[in-house]
């Protein structure tokens, strides 16, 4: 600890950490507060529109339950509080779904549609800054750790007077990591805590989620700090160390992510949404022919031992609608289930591509831990679909259980509308996020382990 404190004191005499800290604070603050403003506005809108939709649903006129099913309503994706830090897939996926009879609707209205110029530049989020700028901060802090000492001659005095290279390296790494943790970790924790307090965090387990998310960002920063230190161990001059470290940054943060993305598209191509929808339409069309309807009626009558629909103890229309919906559910589950599973597989492959670049590993890890990954979006979409099916089931059951004879039409009122609960989706639990994050977390851990292993011979060979 004494060594680490001495290294920290030495680092603090350098103006660099203060400048780096000020720049990081400015960038993270601007991006974080901007995102918080957007998230708070969206959360307020969701609350207001959800209440209006609920009032509209409850206030609808008396009508046939199936008409009410078609009347439908909009449901909204809940705001992930840590989207302020990492919006993940959020801006590129729909935020609201219209739930109505028969249709598994797409989520629509993507935030990126009305995003500002900063977001369109690809440099708008806190996660973007961590992914690109924090490695630069780590490099700027670490590139001179040994190379400048070598150049100045202080490394000769230190090693010649009993400084053990391993302890020197460990002390410097620990001190710079602590400095980096303070410069990066504290603003992230502050922004995350602020977002959780103001946006609303019910069900998000925001405390532990923020802690592991921040830990992942620091592990990523540690990778680049290690890279800078390893280069500094063997570089003759500080300038040479900086140039080499920047070249590595370009390779790992700019070039490798593009290569990794292209590789994932080859290894795990995205399934075609248009083809899935075409198959669904074809299947549903085949099921709704006049012949199929006749067969359905005959089967229902046979099941109840009746020869005429008026002899049935239930409403035939309600019964067949339930059966048709169940058929549609199976089709949706099969086709869209396969489609979503394909997208999830691609996300997993992208996580493993983190072996090529720590930035790719962090991107996958960060959005999973923040609760803004594709799995959370899919969870919302299926939750909305489950809600839709719940409404259809309730409306169709009402029709089925109240047989209408002689052309009389069933009319339902507020009591039935109130039987439908509000849509309150719970996010995927953090435990699920942690399980999903295993691949990219392992990739990041392997980067750290490989760099640590590489440091052993380089430290042993440390010479002035």
């Amino acid at each position: 600890m004494r060594r680490v404190a001495a290294e920290l004191a030495l680092a603090w005499r350098d103006a660099r950490p203060r400048w780096i800290g000020a720049v990081l604070l400015l960038l993270l603050g601007v991006a974080g507060l901007g995102a918080w403003q957007g998230a708070a506005r969206y959360a307020a809108e969701v609350e207001r529109i959800t209440a209006a939709e609920r009032a509209r649903w409850l206030g609808q006129d008396a009508k046939n339950p199936h008409s009410a099913d078609h009347y439908g309503l909009w449901v909204f994706r809940p705001v992930a509080p840590l989207a302020v830090l990492d919006p993940g897939t959020g801006p590129y996926t729909g935020r609201m779904v219209r739930v109505e009879a028969h249709l598994f609707n797409d989520a629509v209205y993507r935030a990126v549609q009305d995003a500002g110029p900063l977001t369109r530049s690809g440099f708008g989020s806190v996660a973007d800054i961590v992914g690109l700028v924090v490695p630069l901060a780590a490099i700027l802090l670490g590139f001179s750790a040994f190379a400048a000492d070598r150049e100045r001659g202080t490394l000769r005095l230190a090693l010649g007077n009993g400084a053990r290279p391993g302890r020197l390296f460990a002390g410097r790494f620990a001190a710079l990591l602590l400095a980096l943790a303070a410069l990066v970790g504290l603003p992230l924790l502050a922004l995350g805590g602020f977002a959780a307090a103001s946006v609303g965090a019910e069900g998000w387990e925001v405390g532990p989620r923020l802690a592991v998310w921040t830990l992942a960002q620091l592990a990523y920063a540690a990778v680049f700090l290690l890279i800078a230190l390893l280069i500094s161990l063997s570089a003759r001059t500080a300038r040479g160390a900086l140039a080499a470290a920047l070249a590595v940054w370009v390779g790992l943060c700019v070039v490798a992510p593009r290569l990794a993305t292209a590789g994932v598209e080859v290894v795990a191509p995205a399934p075609s949404y248009r083809e899935a929808r075409a198959r669904i339409d074809a299947d549903l069309r085949d099921h709704r022919t006049a012949e199929a309807s006749d067969a359905q009626v005959r089967a229902a009558l046979a099941r109840y031992g009746a020869s005429d629909p008026d002899e049935l103890p239930v409403d035939l229309r309600g019964l067949t609608m339930i059966e048709n919906e169940h058929h549609a559910y199976a089709v949706y589950d099969r086709e869209l289930g396969t489609f979503f599973a394909g997208l999830a597989g691609r996300e997993r492959a992208f996580g493993w591509a983190g072996l090529l670049s720590p930035r790719v590993a962090l991107q996958a890890l960060s959005q999973t831990l923040a609760g803004t990954d594709f799995a959370q979006h899919a969870h919302f979409v299926w939750a909305a679909e489950a809600y839709r099916r719940g409404i259809s089931e309730r409306m169709n059951a009402e029709i089925r259980d109240n047989p209408q004879r002689g052309g009389r039409q069933l009319v339902a009122g507020p009591e039935l509308w109130r039987a439908i609960p509000p849509f309150t989706p719970a996010p995927l639990p953090l435990a699920r996020g942690l399980a999903d994050a295993a691949g990219p977390a392992l990739a990041l851990a392997l980067w750290l382990a490989a760099l640590a292993a590489l440091s052993v011979p380089l430290v042993r060979r440390l010479r002035p």
Partner: protein, 274 residues
Amino acid sequence: MAGGMHDDTGDETGDAPVLALRGVAKRFGVRVALEGLDLTLPAGGVYALLGPNGAGKTTTINLVLGFLRADAGAVRVCGIDAGAEPVAARARIAYIPEQVALYPGLSGLENLRYFATLAGLDLGRAEAGRLLGQAGLAEEARGRPAGTYSKGMRQKVGIAVALARRARLLLLDEPTSGLDPAAAAEFSGTVRAAAARGTAVLMATHDLYRVREMADRVGVLAAGRVVEEIDPARLDHVALERLYIERLAGATGAATTGAATTGAATTGAAGAAA
């Protein structure tokens, strides 16, 4: 002068000499830096390597520090192979390079405490101040940033760093370079006091006057070999200078004809008076 230099680590081979070089050879490409160098230094011995630039003095020091590995022969510090276990060997060494470099933003006192911390020592402010005083750094300068120091002031901080180490072997590369005469005389006394307490000292120098004050054996190094061993007590500094110049001229001539003598040096003057 207080503050002796004593080892706080065990000696791996009991009564092994503090420093032993056996048939050490080192080349840099085609250039021969050292060739068959033998040197033994017991506790308390002070050995000076005299020689022109490029004679192999700094190479010898770098080999002892384990910064270089010998192409042939063995370098042992307290019985430890400095080439194979440089960290263990350096744990027994204190070293003052020719150009002492310090952190310019830290004061002399802070530099000393920082280097001591790196060496695993917990040096309080008072003890650090005492060591700097012992090295001859004026009290008013101790709190100033080292970036404002002269070469001599930096050298004094380097001396204090070495003193703090209390090592078995003290390596000095042009130790009085940049020191004013009073500080150089004071430094000579410090070295003799350290030797009296059992610290072995190997110095590379051009300073014939200080050599006579400090060393009990002098080896004239030329073209990678010790071409003459001298007991400086038997010569005044004028005679020493004459002999040094003669030997260098002879060695240069011999080296060109390939007939230089190989020197073997053993000092036996442990506990020589300061």
